[in-house]
C-alpha cells in the first residue's frame, strides 16, 4: 500500500478527526496548557485536531512510536525541520496573494513561492536519501518523495521558475513625477543625483553627522500608484511579463497533496519533541509506554505532571516524581493527605499519562504500563459563576451523575476534591456513594479527597497518601506514596506561615 500519512497508518485511526473543541477534562488535567504550548508558533498547521484525536488500538500507537524513534535522530529532525521552514516561507507568499489585487504582483509572488517550493523539496529529498530510517512511516514516505522529485512534472516546474526569475531581475526602469502626472520609461544610465550632491559637498565633510533619512514601511502590498507604475513596466517589457502570465496558468496547482499533508502532520511530532526537550535536559525521563486495550494491571515509575514540569522548568528545576500501580482487583487510587501536598498534581498526572499514551507519544516517567481507554472523564471543583444560577452542590452532583451515566468499564475517571463546599456530614455521605458507584463500574480512576474513610471502602480502593516532613508541618514533599490514610491535616501550620494567626494579624494591621 502506498504512503498516506505519517500520523495514521490506517485512515480509520483518525476517527475523531472532526473534533474541534477540547473535551471538558482538558482544562482539569491542564492538557489545555500543553496543547496551547504545543500549538504555539505553529498556528498555521492547525495541530489541535490531532491532539484531540486519541488512538484506540495498539498497532496505531506503535506506528507512532516507530516514527518518533526515527525522529530522535537529529539529522532526521534537521531535514524535516528544514523542509518545514521552506514550505512555511512559501505559504507566507501564497497567503499574500489572497490579499493582493494587482495581477503582476500576484503572479510574481506566486512565482517566488513556486521557486521556494522546488528548492526546498529537492533539498529535502537529497538529505533524507542519505539517512538511515527504520519506521514504516518514514521509509514509506521516502519512497514516495523520491518518485515525486524524479517525475517530469516536478523537474519542468523547477527549471522554468528559475529561468523566469533571472529575467525579471534584469528589468530596470525610471519614474518621472511632475504634479499629478507620472511617466515610466526604460532606465538609460542617468546619474545618481544623491551621489552627485554628496560628491559636490564632500569637501566640507568634518565627521559623522546625524542621518536625517525617513524610514519607510516595507509593505508587501502595493498602492494603486505603484501598481500603475508596474503596469507600465509590464508594457516596457512585454515578453517577460507574458511568460509570467503563462507560468501562473500552467502551474496553478503545483503543491503535491501528500507532501502538504506530511508537512502538517509531522509538526505534531516535532511540537511534542520540542515541548519535552527542556524537561529532558533538566534530567526528567520520558518513556514509550507499554499500552493495552484489555489489561487493567497498570502502573508507572517516576512519573510527573508534564504541564507543571513545563512551568517549573522555566523557573526552577525541582519536579517531584511519583509512582503507582494497580494489581488484581484494584481499580481506584484514593488520594488523601494535607492540602498543598501534591494530591491534585498526582491526579492530573494520572490522567495526562493515559491521554498522552493514547496519542502515541512518549509519556512523562521512567516506565509505564497504561490502559487505552474508550473515554476519559474528570471532575474538578469549578469556580462559582454568576452565569450559572444553580446551587453549587446541585451543579456538582449533576455533573458527577452525567459522568457516571456515560462512563463504561473501559473509561478512566479522575475526581478531585469534590464536595469541598458542603458540610463534612454531606461530603461523607455523598463521597462514599460516588466511590461505591465507581467501583461498581469496574473502571480505572483516581479519587482525591480530604476524607480518610474512602481509602478503605472496598478491595478495589488503594490508599495513596501525600506525605509530609514530620518536624516541619508547613513544608511539603509532594511525594504521594501507597500507604493507609493517616488523617493528618496541617491547615493551622500554614496559617502561621502566612502570618494570619490572631496575634500576628493584629500586629500587622496596627503597624
Amino acid at each position: 500500500m502506498s504512503f498516506q500519512s505519517i500520523l495514521f497508518e490506517r485512515a480509520e485511526d483518525f476517527a475523531d478527526g472532526d473534533r474541534r473543541e477540547a473535551p471538558s477534562f482538558f482544562a482539569d488535567l491542564n492538557l489545555d496548557q500543553v496543547m496551547v504550548s504545543l500549538a504555539s508558533g505553529r498556528d498555521e498547521y492547525n495541530l489541535t485536531p490531532y491532539f484531540l484525536a486519541p488512538l484506540h488500538t495498539v498497532p496505531a500507537v506503535e506506528y507512532r512510536h516507530q516514527v518518533l524513534r526515527d525522529l530522535e535522530d537529529k539529522d532526521v529532525r534537521g531535514a524535516v525541520t528544514g523542509y518545514a521552514q521552506g514550505l512555511a516561507e512559501m505559504r507566507k507568499y501564497l497567503a499574500l496573494i489572497g490579499k493582493l489585487h494587482d495581477r503582476y504582483q500576484r503572479e510574481r509572488w506566486f512565482l517566488d513561492a513556486a521557486d521556494i517550493y522546488c528548492r526546498a523539496t529537492e533539498s529535502f529529498a537529497e538529505r533524507i536519501g542519505q539517512l538511515e530510517l527504520r519506521s514504516r512511516g518514514f521509509t514509506g514516505f521516502r519512497e514516495y518523495l523520491n518518485r515525486y522529485v524524479a517525475s517530469d512534472d516536478f523537474t519542468r516546474l523547477a527549471a522554468e521558475a528559475r529561468e523566469l526569475l533571472a529575467r525579471l531581475a534584469e528589468v530596470r526602469y525610471c519614474i518621472h513625477i511632475k504634479g499629478a502626472r507620472v511617466r515610466v520609461s526604460a532606465y538609460e544610465g542617468e546619474d545618481d543625483y544623491g551621489a552627485d550632491v554628496a560628491e559636490t559637498f564632500a569637501r566640507f565633510k568634518q565627521g559623522a553627522v546625524r542621518d536625517y533619512r525617513v524610514g519607510f514601511r516595507a509593505a508587501a502590498d502595493m498602492n494603486h500608484v505603484e501598481a500603475q507604475v508596474l503596469e507600465c513596466v509590464g508594457r516596457l517589457y512585454p515578453e517577460t511579463f507574458a511568460e509570467l502570465d503563462d507560468f501562473c496558468v500552467r502551474y496553478a496547482h503545483y503543491v503535491d497533496d501528500t507532501l502538504g499533508v506530511f508537512d502538517r502532520e509531522v509538526q505534531f511530532y516535532l511540537a511534542y519533541l520540542g515541548y519535552i526537550q527542556p524537561l529532558k535536559s533538566a534530567g526528567l525521563e520520558f518513556c514509550y509506554p507499554c499500552v493495552s486495550q484489555t489489561s487493567k494491571q497498570i502502573g508507572a515509575g517516576d512519573a510527573f505532571d508534564i504541564a507543571l514540569a513545563a512551568t517549573l522548568a522555566r523557573d526552577r528545576p525541582a519536579v517531584v516524581c511519583n509512582s503507582f500501580h494497580l494489581d488484581g482487583p484494584e481499580r481506584v487510587l484514593v488520594v488523601t493527605g494535607p492540602n498543598q501536598g501534591g494530591k491534585t498534581t498526582f491526579a492530573r498526572m494520572f490522567g495526562q499519562l493515559h491521554y498522552l499514551a493514547s496519542l502515541g507519544l512518549p509519556v512523562p516517567g521512567r516506565e509505564a504500563r497504561l490502559f487505552l481507554p474508550d473515554r476519559m472523564f474528570t471532575h474538578f471543583e469549578k469556580e462559582e459563576d454568576l452565569q450559572n444560577l444553580r446551587g453549587k452542590l446541585e451543579d456538582e452532583l449533576i455533573r458527577i451523575h452525567e459522568i457516571l451515566r456515560d462512563a463504561t468499564s473501559r473509561s478512566i475517571v479522575v475526581m478531585n476534591e469534590s464536595f469541598a463546599s458542603t458540610t463534612l456530614q454531606d461530603a461523607l455521605f455523598l463521597g462514599s456513594e460516588i466511590v461505591r458507584r465507581l467501583t461498581d463500574l469496574d473502571l480505572l480512576s483516581v479519587y482525591v479527597t480530604f476524607i480518610d474513610e474512602f481509602a478503605a471502602l472496598n478491595e478495589a480502593c488503594v490508599s495513596m497518601v501525600a506525605t509530609i516532613v514530620p518536624d516541619s508541618p508547613a513544608e511539603r514533599t509532594f511525594k504521594i506514596v501507597r500507604k493507609p490514610a493517616d488523617g493528618l491535616a496541617y491547615a493551622a501550620a500554614i496559617a502561621g506561615k502566612y502570618g494570619l494567626t490572631y496575634q500576628r494579624l493584629k500586629e500587622r494591621i496596627a503597624s
Binding site: N30, Y93, L100, Q105, R108, D112, A169, Y173, C174, I175, K178, G179, A180, V182, R183, S185, A186, E190, D191, D196, V214, N223, H224, V225, E226, V229, L236, D305, A307, N339, Q340, T344, T345, R348, E381, E384, G391, K392, L393, E394, L397, H401, A420, T423, L424, D426, A427, F429, L430, E433, A489, A491, I494, A495, Y498, L500, Y502, R508, I509, A510
Partner: protein, 511 residues
Amino acid sequence: MKAFLMHRDCDVDLASDLPPAADAVTQDLELGTLLAAMAAGDDFLLGRARRAVLSSLANPDAIIYRQQVLTDAIAHPDVVREIYDIAVTAIMSEKRAFFGLLSTSPDAIMYRSVQVLEMFTGMLKRLRAVADEHAASFRSEGFTRFFGMLTSELDDDYLHLVEGHLKELGFRRGTLISAGLGRGNKGLNYVLRKPREQSWRDRIPVGNRQGYSFGIPDRDDNGQRALADLRSRGLNGAASALAQSNDHILAFFTMLRAELAFYIGCLNLRESLAGKGEPLCVPVPSPAAELALTARGLYDPSLSLMLGGRAVGNDVAADSKTLVMITGANQGGKSTFLRSIGLAQLMMQAGMFVAAQSFTASVRDGIFTHFKREEDATMEKGKLDEELSRMNGIAGQISPGCLLLCNESFASTNEREGSEIARQIIRALLESGVRVVFVTHLFDLAHGLWTGKDGTALFLRPERRDDGRRTFRLLPGEPLPTSYGPDLYRQIFTAEPKAAAVSSTAVAIDR
C-alpha cells in the same frame, strides 16, 4: 481651561495605579457585568467606568460634589451626551487625520496640521454654542463652573483670531527616480536620478524614448498620498518639520472626554436598570466613625442586568454592627447579597446612584474581597494555600476603617480547621476596626460566633418558606446545622417518581 467635573479642584486621574485589591474586587463582585452596562459596548467608557468605580472617594463632601453633577446629567442627558460627543469627535478626527497619512514627509505634516486646527476650531465653537444655550438650566457647582469657563475663555474675539491663523502651503517639482523589481515585483532600490543636460520638459516632445504616462485624478486622495510617498522615497533627504500647535487643544478635549465618560456610563447604567423598573437611589454617605449601614430593597445590579426580570431586594439594618455573618443552605442568595453590599458601597463611594430603594452607609477607607476561587491555574499552590496567600495579601494592605467581604473563605480545608483559621482572622480584624461581612456554611464557625455574640454582630440566613421553597431573601436568625446533600443526591441520582417523597424529607430536616 480645566473641566473639573470629577473633582472640585483637580483633573481626574488618567493613568495611576488602581488600588492593589482592584483585580480581586472586580472578579469577586462580578463588576464586569456592571461596567459593561456602563460602557454599552464602548471600550473607552469601560476603562473610565472601571477606574472611577474602583478609585473610591473617602470624603462624603467629594462624593456629594459628584452626586450633584450626576443629578444635573440625569436631568439633561441630551446636553451632556452632546458635549461628550463633541469631545469624542474632536479626538477621533485628530486621530484619523494622523492615521490617514502614510508618510511623515514635511508636506504631509503641514497638510495635516492645518486640517486638524480647522477641525478643532469648529469643535470649540460648538462647545461655546452649547454653553450659550443651556448653561442657565444647570444647577450643580461642577457644571456651573464649567459653562462659565467656556463662555469667558472662548469668546468671539479669540475664535476669530484662531481662524485668521489658518493657512495653506504646497510646492511641487518634477522628480526622476530609477528602480528595479524586487520580491512580488515591488519597486526596489529607488534612487533619485539627475536628468541629462536638457530639462525633462524639453525632452518629452522629442519622443525618441519609449515611455508610458498616467495621471492621478484630483479627487483621488489615496493616489495623491501614494504619489507623495513614492516621491518621498526618491527624495528622502530634505525635510523640515512643522510645529505641532494642536497638542494643547487636544489635551483639553482628552480631559473633558475622560471626565464626562464616567457620567455617560452612569446614564447608560441608569437606562438599563431603570428601564426594567429597578429602583435606584442617591445614597447618603455618612462619616466613617458613624458605622452606618442601612438599606431598603438592596439588590445586586450585576445579577439584575443578567436576569430577564427584576432581582430580589433585601433590607439591611446593620447600623453600628461591625460584623455581619450570613449562614445557611446552598442556593439561598447569600453570595448575591454579599455582592450587592459590596457594589452598593463601591458605587456610593464613586459618587454614583445605588441599586436600592434607599442606602445609607459610612464611607470606608478601602474595600476588600476574599471569595473562594477555583484552583490556581499555575498549579503551584493548593487551594487553602491559595486562599491564605490572598488573605495574606489583604492583611498587608488593609487598615482600620476598611471593609472586608468574605465568601466561603477557608472552606477548602475541612470544617473544623477552616473554622479555626477563620475565627482567628475575624477576631483580629474586628478588634482592629475593620468591618467584616462574611458568608459561610461552616457551621462550627458561625455557631461559635453566635454563642459569643454581643451587640456589634448581625446574623442573617436565607428565608425558607414552609413548602421548602427558597425566596433568595435574607432574614436575621441563628445559624442552623442543616444540610441538603442527601436530599439533592436522591433527586439527581434516582428516578423521577421518588423526587416527591424527597422534598418532604428536606422540610423535615429544616424544621
